[in-house]
Amino acid sequence: MPTTATAAPAPDPMGAERTLMPAPLTPETIAHLEERARHVRLETIRLIAIAKVGHYSSTFSCAELFATLYYDAMRLRHGEPRWPDRDRFLMGKGHAAVGLYPLLADWGFFPKELLDGYTRLGNPLGDHPDMTKVPGVDFSSGSIGHALSAGLGMVMGGRMMNRRFDVYVMLGDGEMQEGQVWEAAMAAAHQKAGNLIAIVDRNGYQLDGQVDEVMGIEPLAGKWRAFGWEVHEVDGHDVAALATLFRRLKQDRTREKPACIIARTLKGKGVGYMEREAGWHLGYLAPEDEAAAIAEIMGQPASPAIPREAAAQGDAR
């Protein structure tokens, strides 16, 4: 399995799963997680440049979540995407999968070269994650609202098979409008699915605009509590806070209630205008704008791009 070099140290080189007794959260770990979140953003930009259209801002809002889950919280084995005792990860907001693929490649679940063919005919990596095509994807998505049910099913199946793993399900805040989410929430509490962890990427926006305007979902914590969940609210861009919370939840083996993490995030986090313009849910950056966005993510002062002729019409169609 080719392992093209990346800036990040390869995870768990011995192929061992993560220990349940976490190491202290050192400044190095924090820096590493932050670097991995940047990696998610940069790869997102790189891959969308291939697709010529994509969900930058939805992925940017959960970059720290991806990083913390895949490089700190989850129990995984390098190169073993089907290890039966692995923790599971599902995405209700499957349209952010472009940020997940680089991490799965990093874990040795598939060759990194596949990333270069993102969305091209014959390549397994599409806008939404596909478990039948992509090793490491625990469940397919794209139709918003199914993931929490599927995650609950994994908990129940695991129970019958006498396996103990945690199931993380990342949901969009717009996704809270799908009724099936509440069916699953009710059922998970009823089933005492203590190892089910829902994470709501509370970035405030959905496709048509601000969530509160499109279809208000507040009080969100109140809803989850009324559906029998333990609720945690956290800054979704603070990797230290996230890692601490995930570690705490993982160590608590007595919990009977499923846990919901409401992660307050910025949609488009990292690229100023994406944070401020509602339309960036879907879009495309021509090369010059892409370069400026990369610079901004890398922490360089954003120099305004100079107007230029339109880039050649993309090949997204």
Binding site: P84, S149, A150, G153, V155, G157, M160, M161, H190
Partner: protein
């Protein structure tokens, strides 16, 4: 708060044997036992079976399985879509889930979850849509399912089976242990007379030929096999050369059986407790039109309309879906 303090399962009320309540359904619909018993047999054979329903354990008889294997039974309450997506999640862990609810809610309400989470994801979930067709009589259209075959058939990667009776369902469930694809089982209300003896041969996609004939061949599925068998016997007794095929697997369809019948008979008559559009009749039409057979197709069933309400046997009579009605239909065709 006026909620009752003690509620019992043991009848304390009516003593007249004509009276009955829901929990006694199993004894009133003997066909209901086959599902639970077939699943128990799989468990006995060491298969990692799990069963679930959405607040209908007495209607589908899974209460029987639940009593035997409480650890393998999941009650989802009235949330069918959650049940179907959860079944997919369950299947990813190596368990083989069987989930059951009324065909109208399974095949229609959960159509998208079935496509995405089960069929597309190629997970070995078994879906049991019971009380299909117009079996729920005066419960009305919400409880009728005369579209589910068409809908399930349009979904790639799904095997669609419509057993004729309990023994055939049991045989199909047994055979399903080695079947790689997800399966939609469409069954009746457990009051159908049996066509087959216990655990008949069953092969997915292989139709069963009961009779051959040159005038007309009936191709039937599910609850219609029994009345068709009766009708065909009567027709043959009166000298007509009428065949009968039990097309229990709607998908993949047994093309060879259709083509052989179309070679042999002047007319193919499909009979289904379903809309004549898109279901068994539709599937047979596709094979015949593409093969350019000489035989003529006639589709019998619900004629792209919503059924009246009435007790089911009254409806079967009204829509000529009982033995007498089917016999009349054939005689009219051959007249």
């Amino acid at each position: 708060m006026t909620a009752p303090m003690t509620v019992t399962d043991t009848p304390t009320g009516p003593v007249n044997p004509g009276s009955w309540q829901y929990r006694q359904l199993n004894s009133r619909a003997p066909g209901l036992s086959y599902l639970s018993d077939a699943l128990s047999a799989l468990v006995a054979d060491g298969h990692p079976v799990m069963a679930g329903t959405a607040d209908l354990q007495y209607s589908n008889g899974l209460a029987r399985f639940a009593a035997r294997h409480p650890d393998r039974f999941v009650q989802f309450g009235i949330s069918e879509q959650n049940m179907v997506s959860a079944a997919a999640g369950i299947a990813t862990t190596g368990v083989m889930p069987f989930v059951a609810t009324f065909a109208s809610f399974l095949g229609l309400l959960c159509c998208e979850q079935i496509r995405m989470d089960i069929a597309y994801s190629a997970l070995p979930v078994r879906l049991i849509g019971h009380h299909a067709g117009i079996a729920l009589g005066f419960y009305g259209t919400s409880h009728h399912a005369t579209e589910d075959l068409a809908i399930m058939r349009s979904i790639a990667g799904l095997t669609v089976v419509n057993p004729a009776d309990g023994p055939q369902l049991a045989a199909a469930i047994k055979a399903s242990a080695d079947h790689p694809e997800p399966i939609y089982f469409r069954i009746g209300r457990g009051q159908e007379p049996n066509v087959y003896e216990d655990l008949p041969d069953f092969q997915f996609g292989k139709a069963i030929e009961h009779e051959t004939g040159s005038d007309l061949t009936v191709i039937a599925c599910g609850t219609m096999v029994h009345p068709c068998l009766e009708a065909v016997r009567a027709l043959r007794a009166s000298g007509l050369s009428v065949g009968l095929i039990d097309m229990h697997t709607i998908k993949p369809l047994d093309r060879d059986a259709v083509l052989a019948a179309a070679e042999r008979s002047r007319v193919i008559l499909t009979v289904e407790e379903h809309n004549i559009l898109g279901g068994l009749g539709g599937a047979v039409a596709e094979v015949m039109a593409e093969a350019g057979t000489k035989a003529l197709l006639i589709r019998h069933g619900i004629r792209d309309e919503y059924s009246l309400i009435a007790p089911p046997t009254h409806l079967y009579r009204h829509y000529q879906l009982d033995a007498a009605g089917i016999e009349t239909v054939v005689r009219d065709i051959l007249a």
